[in-house]
Symmetry: C2
Subunit: 452 residues, 2 copies
């Protein structure tokens, strides 16, 4: 039948839509489990929103560049699909959160702490490292009318918990406060547009140096301010030193001072939150979403892999959902671009795929007349919480053990007639290559203990 | 700012795209966790495929009705979207599995045991209880060239493990074998088309009685066979009795006998797999996908809620991926339509949303001067694996406790100056309404112990 098939289609990958082997997926899934556990440790609750939103919702904020990346639905057949064209795949988890909070606001208790781990889609031009489908892991704390600055102080503790548990190397959470730079620029006499254009160039210093910023100041006939601005965004020193320097700049306007106060408060509570000193640093050079964040802003980098850029970013915003509800909902949140992070960690060899099976034990069946015993052994192991596969296919023991080693099982159980007669059973430690024969009744505990 | 916004969009639900409250989502997520744990207990490994497949892949098998349900992608803006129209959202997890196995077959070890828990999309006409987006939980065991019948025997053990752990009431796994009915009908002289049309009517007996089947036989001028066919598909008795009756029908052709042998083998091993007798039954009346399954078939029903229909179904097939690869890949698998199941369980009150928070403990801050102490208490609880939220918003204790009770925390910690001075701290059991004051250093273990 198979050989007769005409028009067979040879499947090929779709660029930008990543897909992993089972061994890789197990690592990614473990990362998601750890991120979720850290989020829950801080009392964030899960929501899941549909993959699609109404077009009117997704485009409420506007932004030509974003809209060009949106995938709408349509029927595969022209005469089907119904109202599909009214809906599009979400391109982030922030718009869905805003819509969710607005729609369900009467059923939610504020401050609303939610996490959301979902796929998002963006119609990027296919190119290396650009994903069109990827998983984001977001948390937000959304207040009703107001939200304590302590929420800003808690976010780095969540980031720290996440990346400590992921165990992918030393990391630094860089923190700034949007009000410091915008307040300073306002104090220097720049209007909002000019300030934004300056910040956009300041954001490029990491990759392109200071030239774009200096050119911008030149075009604004403000070259005289260059030294002061650069001194601020490139301020070096420990967090305590930078906070002291900022405190000394007491004549830089009210907004600047508010920003310094907020930044200091976030740092003052870091110790109580258990954040190690070396994981947190003031960095006035970080900028982030200019049209969105209004206070504290966060970036996170792996100390040994700066080329990965920020692996977890976010900040404080004044108003989550003003497009959807007549109620001011300030919030603070962060987002981890998991797919990009995972694929980079994989590529850099920082995480490594291990076993291709969720089971630690393979029960072999070298003697098919012992099939029922093999099944009973597996059932006893499973009852003892040990993930177990049985080899059913009828093959010599050597082939079964090769299968065990290809799939990466820790142990192979080998039921043999001579052992079973005396109610004993042999098992093999696949890594150590050693074999043990134990009373059959003790096997589950023996293996559970060795698996720790 | 908020009040000035023009053109505010009031968000409304999208029919067929379900969305849950956080408390409901926590229940759904717990169900997914339990299903996943049961799948992993049997050594199934996770894969995840993109939300989209190439149209050529999704339509390889044909089927007008299926194709009319497919949502394609397109750019929201006519001039954007690129190649989006070549891709569509998958409508099940079977076609993606077939494509995945064909594409990665050189990297997989067979038998390939995979689970996949993902959203799928179908352009159903919006109507009550019909979902256009829903989560499926699938497992399959796919062999290369051959697959032991023992794989068929293991599947009910997985189903049993899943529904035991979900704890949603007594259930029965109904099992048949496609070869019994098709073999019997062939033996009676019906050709394949006639047999299929008879089976399609037999499938309706549950809902419409025997009339459609009798009419069909009449139209085939085969009314004389009606009694024999009805005796078979409606055969009553214990599984052992039915298997004995079938064994006695030894003159019903080779395919029939093969089916009886396979069905008996599946039942013979049920005890070794630890499947309780009351959870498994022969039911020759179940039919399932006629153009797909070729041997063992499964349905699962909740004994007390037959109106839910089958909540977990599947079977054995001869060839998974012949549209994509010149290699015969027989398999056996099942699928749980989680969204439908969860929404029905919710509606029937069989599962109930509980707490709206993942945290069990709220650390209150009735005295804001003790903020650092409150944070330290929360950090110690979190370090002891207790999910903990801190109330930051500055409110009287009464309001904070109301917040704790609305969100469903088990405990509220109440740091007060007079207690803190003697290194003690008070906590309240929110359900019992009782309060305890303990040494602050002992709080984490005290609460962890009470949470079990």
């Amino acid at each position: 039948m198979c050989a007769d098939r005409r028009n067979r289609i040879t499947p090929t990958p779709i660029s930008g839509f990543p897909e992993w082997t089972p061994a890789e997926r197990m690592v990614e899934q473990q990362m998601i489990d750890q991120i979720r556990a850290a989020f829950e440790r801080f009392g964030f609750s899960p929501i899941e929103t549909p993959a699609v939103e109404r077009n009117t919702v997704l485009t409420a904020k506007g932004g030509e560049e974003t809209e060009r990346q949106i995938y709408s639905l349509t029927g595969l057949h022209p005469q089907s699909g119904g109202d599909a064209r009214d809906y599009s795949l979400h391109f982030d988890l922030t718009v869905p959160l805003a819509r969710y909070v607005a729609q369900h606001n009467n059923d939610l208790v504020f401050p609303f702490r939610r996490y959301q781990i979902q796929k998002v889609w963006r119609g990027e031009r296919p190119q290396h490292g650009r994903f069109r489908e990827f998983t984001q892991c977001d948390i937000d704390i959304v207040g009703d009318g107001k939200l304590s600055l302590m929420a800003d102080a808690e976010i780095p503790a969540v980031i720290s918990a996440v990346f400590s548990s992921l165990n992918i190397g030393d990391f630094t959470i860089r923190i700034s406060n949007r009000k410091i730079l915008t307040g300073y620029l306002a104090h220097l006499g720049f209007d909002e547009d000019a300030a934004s254009s300056i910040l956009r160039e300041a954001d490029k210093i990491d990759r392109q140096g200071t030239r774009p910023l200096l050119q911008r100041l030149d075009s604004l006939s403000a070259s005289a301010a260059a030294d002061d601005i650069l001194a601020l965004v490139q301020m070096q020193g420990s967090s305590a030193e930078i906070l002291n320097n900022l405190a000394a700049m007491s004549d830089s306007g009210e907004r600047f001072e508010q920003g310094v106060h907020e930044l200091r408060t976030v740092f003052e509570h870091a110790a109580a939150f258990g954040i190690p000193d070396e994981n947190i640093a003031v960095d006035l050079g970080i900028v982030r979403g200019l049209d969105y964040y209004t206070g504290t802003i966060y970036e996170t980098r792996l100390d040994d892999h700066p080329q990965l850029g920020s692996i977890c970013s976010g900040g404080r915003y004044d108003d989550l959902a003003s497009y959807f509800i007549r109620r001011t909902l300030p919030g603070v949140g962060i987002s981890i671009g998991l797919t990009r992070l995972f694929s980079q960690l994989l590529q850099a060899g920082i995480v490594k795929p291990g076993s291709a099976s969720t089971a630690q034990v393979l029960v072999t069946t070298p003697d098919e007349s012992l099939m029922s015993s093999a099944i009973e052994i597996a059932s006893a192991l499973r009852a003892a919480q040990v993930n177990t596969e049985i080899f059913f296919e009828g093959a010599r023991l050597g082939r079964q053990l090769r299968y065990a080693s290809r799939k990466g099982f820790r142990f192979a159980v080998i039921p043999l007639p001579e052992d079973m007669e005396s109610a004993r059973v042999k098992f093999r430690d696949m890594d150590a290559g050693e074999e043990y024969t134990v009373p059959a009744a003790e096997l589950p505990q023996q293996i559970a203990r060795r698996l720790g």
